[in-house]
Every structure is written in structure tokens, then in C-alpha cells.
């Protein structure tokens, strides 16, 4: 409880090993509430691993060991009384490849509600409202309101990815994690998703992993640069790109390696 001030996600000395390989080294971070924070860095630097720590997906694999502390909204998510189901309900995840379920658009949006409620607690009206609200929020309502029974896997990729975001919203998540949400999309679709991310800002704390530095620069308020499992720099995005404090950051953003 008692979320401290303005931070949604804080980590203290977070280290993670895949077997004997250390993927995260003493990561200490404070991610601002209600902002868009991007995670950048070369392949294998631990961005995705870090992102996946925040809803405890990593531990599904038996050979992963984690040390340190992660607090989401002030609560240590490794506490014994934390329920993975409750945690993941509040912490949504969007993946690299859009992964709508092979059911109708409508059912995709209300899927989370159905998972987290008794059947009798969900009259048709509640579901209809939730669908309209979520699809409006991601800008799909206008296009899809007459096609709610269409199979979600037949939509265009851009619409699929928006739907994947809409699917999270009825559960009223506090944090949305995005793992390269645009890398399967073309330029136009990328722009649309970025605009959507911007529109969601404020209501949700958004953490977005990206390979695309231009995207990090365009679409985020704060930026974290990681290298070989360590956080090199964490500042406001424009400062990080204009006046990087660390020479390795400047080398990376200028494209000398990556």
C-alpha cells in the first residue's frame, strides 16, 4: 500500500541469473508514475528480461534466480501474500507480435473480465459497455463497432496490436508493459500505435522496450539505457539524447555500436 510519491515501479539491487549467466546486475530504478518510460540498449542487454520481471513471467522457467527487490505501487511483488493472478491483472503486457486470441473481437476484449469475475456478475450490458469503452480508448470503435463478431486473428496487424492493448483495459491495469510493440508493424501502423501510447499516458504507467532509438526519442518521457545487464543512464528522454552523461550512452545513440 501507500505508494511512495510519484514512483510506480522501483527496484533495489535487482539481479537475475539464467542458470549461471547473469542477465541483470544490481538494477536500481525509479520509474515515474503516469509517464512513458522507454528501455533501450543493444540486443542482450537485459531490457526484455527486466520488463518481464515486473509481472513475474520470468520465474516460470525453473533455472531463473532473482535477487533484490521490486516494488510496484509500493508493494514488494515477491511478498508471500502476492497473488500472481492479481498482480498480472494490474500489470498488463503487450508483446512483440500481436497475439489476439482466435475468438471474436468482442470476446477478446471481455476475456479478462470473464477470467476475473463470476459469470452472474457480468450482465450483457456491463460487457457491452466495457467493449465500447476499451475499443474507443484505443481508437478501434469506429472501425469495428459493426464487426465485433469478426474473428480477431483476421484483423490487420495494426488493429490486432491495438486490440491487444484494448484487451488489457477493462481490467483497469495500473501499469502496462510493452515489449517492442511496433517491431512487427510497418511505418504507418507504428505511428498509429505510438499515438495510441501517447493517448494512454497519464492514465497508466507505461514501460516500453524498443530497439528503435528514434521511437524512444519520439514516444517516451523518460529513457533508460541499459548495457550488459546494468543501467547506464536514466533521465528525461530529451536530456539523454541531447546531453548524455555517460560516454557509452552517447556512443550507442550515435550508432557506433548496437
Amino acid at each position: 500500500m501507500n505508494a511512495p510519491s510519484s514512483h510506480s515501479i522501483t527496484t533495489r539491487d535487482l539481479s537475475l541469473w539464467y542458470g549461471t549467466f547473469q542477465a541483470l546486475k544490481n538494477v536500481t530504478l525509479n520509474i515515474q508514475h503516469g509517464l512513458i518510460t522507454s528501455l533501450i540498449g543493444p540486443s542482450g542487454c537485459g531490457k526484455t528480461t527486466l520488463l518481464r520481471c515486473f509481472n513475474r513471467v520470468n520465474e516460470r522457467y525453473g533455472y531463473v534466480t532473482t535477487k533484490g527487490e521490486i516494488r510496484l505501487l509500493g508493494k514488494n511483488i515477491y511478498d508471500a501474500n502476492v497473488s500472481l493472478q492479481a498482480l498480472r491483472r494490474s500489470v498488463g503486457m503487450v508483446f512483440q507480435r500481436p497475439n489476439p486470441l482466435p475468438i471474436s473481437v468482442y470476446e477478446n476484449v471481455v476475456f479478462g473480465l470473464r477470467i476475473h469475475s463470476e459469470r452472474r456478475a457480468l450482465p450483457r450490458r456491463v460487457l457491452d459497455d466495457a467493449v465500447e469503452k476499451a475499443l474507443t480508448e484505443v481508437g478501434l470503435w469506429h472501425d469495428l463497432k459493426d464487426h465485433l463478431d469478426r474473428k480477431a486473428t483476421t484483423l490487420q496487424l495494426e488493429q490486432q496490436q491495438k486490440l491487444c492493448i484494448a484487451r488489457l483495459l477493462p481490467l483497469k491495469p495500473r501499469i502496462i508493459l510493452m515489449d517492442e510493440p511496433c517491431s512487427a508493424l510497418d511505418v504507418e501502423a507504428t505511428r498509429a500505435i505510438e499515438e495510441l501510447i501517447f493517448a494512454l499516458k497519464g492514465h497508466y504507467t507505461i514501460v516500453i522496450v524498443t530497439h528503435n532509438m528514434a521511437q524512444a526519442r519520439r514516444a517516451s518521457d523518460e529513457c533508460i539505457f541499459m548495457l550488459l545487464g546494468e543501467v547506464m543512464e536514466h533521465r528525461r528522454t530529451e536530456e539523454l539524447f541531447l546531453t548524455p552523461a555517460n560516454s557509452r550512452t552517447s556512443d550507442y545513440i550515435e550508432g557506433r555500436y548496437g
Binding site: M1, K75, Q85, A86, S90, H116, L171
Partner: protein, 301 residues
């Protein structure tokens, strides 16, 4: 409405209910999977106990005596080995080569669809029908007579479609990108198959073939109609007691005969016969598994 999301991520009553259901579901599934093991253990245990008085090396090496009411099963064991090896020697090459054609060369046209359909339907034909076919085709039409050859060919036709199916599966599990890599340096299809596809599919292919040993050894109907006899006088421990144009004894047939046709058989002998049949099949399967494991460890992708 749903309960409002809380910040402390603790389980709501609903989540606790779902977790109880989850635990229950897991145990039910586990129970069903574990139940699979029970019949196997019961069968083996029951057979072993009933067979105990007869089981010995002597039982395997000796020939049946006193009108099959005593003695051993040597002629039947050797007969089964003959039949299995001969039938697989015919069906394995044909099946593997056919599968290579179907998986690597065949385009999707009506002719190849007919072949596929034939393979699928052949796999579904009951063994007694194979037996009748073998009787007509090999015993009478081809004039092989009631003989090991007729019986082995009938078994070969029975195992062929399954060998084709398992070989195709093994070939299909080799990633297409490997083939493309070969073609893109100018290799022909056959060169690609020999250099990359077969070495990587061989473990699956062999496992599929070896698993057919148990089917060929266990079937009674096809050989009963085409080449197996109740009794054949054979020297004790003789490794080559049969000519291929002769009839032979076989374990499955022998078991059937002892249990239903011969009065006054020592009670433990049919069970011991079953144990030998089961034991040799399990032995062959174990070989298949270890071969697979060995070939897998050399495969790194």
C-alpha cells in the same frame, strides 16, 4: 461488476476460489496420467506371478514336448524373429523411400492426394482383412503357398502405412530453412536430402521402424491365415530351423494355441509364453528409445 483492482496484489476471494479449482484440476489430470501406469504394472505383475514356475532359460531354448503340454517355446520364438525381420526388411525400405518422395518431392496434385489417401486408409484396415488379402494374393495368386514368405509379406503390407507416416513426420521435423540453405548453394533435392535431411531425421525414422517390430510380432490373424502352424518339429536350439517356403511357428500363434486348442497344458506355460513375447517386444522398444536418445545427443539445434 468486478471488484476494483487493489494495489497490494493479494488474492481476492474469487482468485482463491479459482486457485482451488486449479489445484483440483491439476490433481485430476495427474491422476488420469498416473492411471495409465496401473494397467501396465498389473498386466506385467500378473503375468510374471502366473508364469514364474516355468520361466527359465531352458523354457526359451527347449522345444515343446508331450503334445505341447510341456517343454519350451524355441521354435515359436525363432519363427517370430524370422517373420518380424523378413517383414520389416521388405516394408522399411519401401516405406522410407515412399515417405521421402511424399514429403520431399510430391507436389499437391490429385495423384499425390490419392497416394496420401491410400496410405491413410491402408493404416486403418483391420488386420484380419490384411490376413484375407495375404491369403488371396500371396498364398494363392502368387503361389507362395502357406509359408514364411507369404506371412512376412502380409505383415509388411500391414506395417507399411505406419512406417510411411512416422517417416514423413520425422522428415517434416527437419526445419525447411536447412533445405533452403542447401538449395541456395545449388544443391539438387537429392543432394540436400542426403546431406542434411536424412542425417537429421534418421533417429525419428529408425524409431518409427523399430516400433513396428512390436506390431509385427504381436499380430496373430495375418500369419494364422498365411504361414503359421500349430506345431512344427524343430531341433532344440537350432538357429535356422525353417526354410522360407515352409510354414513356421510363432509366439502369438503359439500363445493362442496353448490357451484355447490344446488340453492339459501346464498352467504356467501360456503365461510364460506371454512374458517372453512381451519381454522381447519391450526389449526392442527399449533399444529404440536408447538409439533415439543417442542420436538426439548428437543433434544440436
Amino acid at each position: 461488476m468486478t471488484d476494483a483492482p487493489e494495489n497490494n496484489f493479494t488474492a481476492t476471494p474469487l482468485i482463491r476460489k479459482r486457485l482451488r479449482q486449479e489445484t483440483m484440476a491439476k490433481w485430476i489430470f495427474f491422476g488420469m496420467a498416473a492411471a495409465m501406469v496401473v494397467p501396465l504394472l498389473l498386466i506385467i505383475g500378473y503375468l510374471a506371478v502366473r508364469a514364474a514356475p516355468s520361466l527359465s532359460l531352458e523354457f526359451i531354448l527347449d522345444v515343446p514336448r508331450r503334445g505341447m503340454t510341456a517343454g519350451g517355446i524355441w521354435p515359436a520364438l525363432v519363427g517370430t524373429i524370422y517373420l518380424v525381420f523378413l517383414s520389416l526388411a521388405v516394408s522399411a525400405p519401401i516405406g522410407i523411400l515412399a515417405a521421402i518422395y511424399l514429403n520431399e518431392y510430391a507436389r499437391d496434385n490429385w495423384f499425390n492426394r490419392v497416394i496420401n489417401l491410400a496410405v491413410l486408409n491402408l493404416a486403418g484396415v483391420p488386420s484380419i482383412v490384411h490376413a484375407l488379402f495375404g491369403l488371396g494374393a500371396f498364398v494363392y495368386a502368387a503361389r507362395f503357398g502357406y509359408s514364411i514368405i507369404s506371412a512376412a509379406l502380409t505383415l509388411a503390407i500391414m506395417t507399411l502405412p505406419v512406417i510411411i507416416a512416422s517417416t514423413r513426420e520425422a522428415l517434416a521435423s527437419v526445419p525447411p530453412s536447412f533445405r533452403e540453405a542447401c538449395w541456395n548453394v545449388g544443391a539438387t533435392r537429392w543432394q540436400a536430402i542426403r546431406a542434411v535431411v536424412l542425417p537429421n531425421a534418421i533417429s525419428g525414422i529408425l524409431t518409427g521402424v523399430i516400433l513396428q517390430v512390436s506390431r509385427a510380432a504381436g499380430e496373430t490373424a495375418p500369419i494364422m491365415f498365411t504361414g503359421a502352424v500349430f506345431f512344427k518339429a524343430v531341433e532344440r536350439g537350432d538357429l535356422f530351423p525353417y526354410y522360407l517356403d515352409e510354414q513356421c511357428m510363432a509366439l502369438s500363434m503359439h500363445l493362442y494355441t496353448l490357451s484355447t486348442q490344446v488340453p492339459g497344458v501346464m498352467e504356467s506355460i501360456p503365461y510364460a509364453t506371454a512374458i517372453v513375447l512381451l519381454g522381447s517386444v519391450l526389449l526392442v522398444n527399449a533399444m529404440a528409445i536408447s538409439l533415439r536418445v543417442y542420436l538426439r545427443t548428437r543433434k544440436k539445434w
